[in-house]
């Protein structure tokens, strides 16, 4: 593309383009070029990375979370259910660091859980995963867990990987249940995968999980 005739300008003083700073008149080819360079102003900074519709799986892994692009991730878990007839199915998160799943009891979390009409502190400094709602579900019709999770610093190898979350649904006793809390893998590492499972990793789960990146511009 000719330098002397770009963005509607002729001559050498072609304005520099950047997100929220587009100057000139653009033809479609120039817009496409700027979009590819991430310099075209378009809103919608909650960027869908992947949606998984799960029908029967004990381990649900997001392999390409683009943690080299996003510092903050957002996940929704909708209508998570289990095929197991007995209770004690509680959803949790594990991370893979440079492709290797962290399976040790190295996670910490704290969840304020409500079920059966009362709150309880659910916390630990050494567990095999980060608990989300941390209430139990079984395969009864309305048992489910619905959650959102924020992830921080997954791609920053100088920082720990943190979560904040909130869940709501019905538990295995057919009671309203809720849990909100925080979690961490207290290891400075590059996290490149997120895995969802129940803490026994034995159960067949179903539901819809979407992972988003929250785009930022300096």
């Amino acid at each position: 593309m000719s330098k002397s005739n770009k963005y509607g300008y002729s001559g050498v003083n072609i304005p520099t383009q950047a997100f929220k700073s587009n100057v000139g008149k653009f033809d479609p080819a120039e817009i496409n070029e700027l979009v590819q360079e991430d310099k075209w102003t378009a809103f919608g900074q909650l960027e869908l990375i992947e949606t998984k519709t799960v029908t029967s799986s004990s381990l649900i892994t997001f392999n390409d979370i683009k943690s080299d692009i996003y510092n903050v991730h957002f996940m929704t878990l909708s209508n998570m259910k289990t095929a197991r007839s007995s209770g004690n199915i509680q959803l949790g998160i594990r991370f893979a660091e440079n492709g290797t799943l962290e399976t040790g009891t190295n996670y910490q979390f704290a969840v304020n859980r409500f079920q059966g009409g009362s709150f309880s502190d659910q916390n630990t400094t050494s567990f095999s995963r980060i608990g989300i709602g941390w209430y139990s579900i079984d395969n009864a019709t309305y048992n489910c867990e619905n959650s959102y999770v924020y992830f921080y610093n997954l791609g920053d190898s100088t920082k720990y990987s943190f979560t904040t979350s909130h869940s709501f649904g019905y538990n295995y006793q057919d009671q309203q249940a809720m849990g909100y809390g925080s979690g961490v893998l207290p290891q400075t590492s590059f996290v490149d995968q997120i895995q969802i499972s129940d803490y026994n990793t034995l159960d067949n789960l179903s539901g819809v999980i979407s992972l988003y990146g929250i785009k930022e511009y300096s």
């Binding site: 992830f151 904040t164 511009y217």
Partner: protein, 168 residues
């Protein structure tokens, strides 16, 4: 046309007791999402949020209520609340060099309604995780244009990275 989360502003600060984010609230949005992180902060201090009116004038009126729960991985949880406060939000400042995470939603900061907020935070205190769940309300109809993040005790914040989005 793309909708949902719309990037407004990013502000960074280090070696400073407060960072102002000016001209980020307007009549374009009713709801804002704010996320920020910090590291290398003093152990034992909280961080506070206050609002800005036109320009960089800090709203020091003691008409803010907040309530928060402190969720510890290693011990029992605590509750903390305050009314008639100048701070809209009090969150964690304890952040080691390993970082922290904060997500807040602010409702109606720039219209003729009370301003409400809710959010969650997470970080490390000592070697153990601490989380926060928070709600707040500014009981006035002031039209705010921005906010600031400050330490409660005047010590410095380091590597503060603040991002503001409008929710469409």
């Amino acid at each position: 046309m793309a909708t949902n989360l719309e990037f407004i502003k990013q502000v960074n600060g280090t070696s400073t007791a407060e960072v102002k984010v000016t001209n980020c609230f307007s009549d374009k949005y009713d709801i804002y999402y704010i996320t920020f992180s910090t590291s290398d902060d003093s152990v034992g201090t909280a961080t506070d949020m206050r609002f800005l009116t036109t320009g960089e004038t800090v709203d020091l009126t003691s008409d803010k209520d907040y309530a928060r729960q402190l969720l510890y991985a290693h011990t029992s949880f605590n509750n903390n609340n305050s009314s008639t406060n100048a701070n809209f939000w009090r969150g964690m400042g304890e952040a080691t060099e390993q970082g922290s995470g904060n997500s807040l939603y602010v409702f109606n900061p720039n219209n003729a309604s009370y301003t409400y907020g809710l959010g969650q935070s997470v970080g490390i205190t000592g070697s153990n995780m601490i989380g926060f769940k928070w709600i707040g309300c500014a009981k006035n109809t002031t039209q705010y244009t921005g906010f600031l993040i400050k330490t409660a005790d005047g010590t410095v914040l380091n590597n503060l990275d603040i991002l503001v989005y409008g929710v469409k």
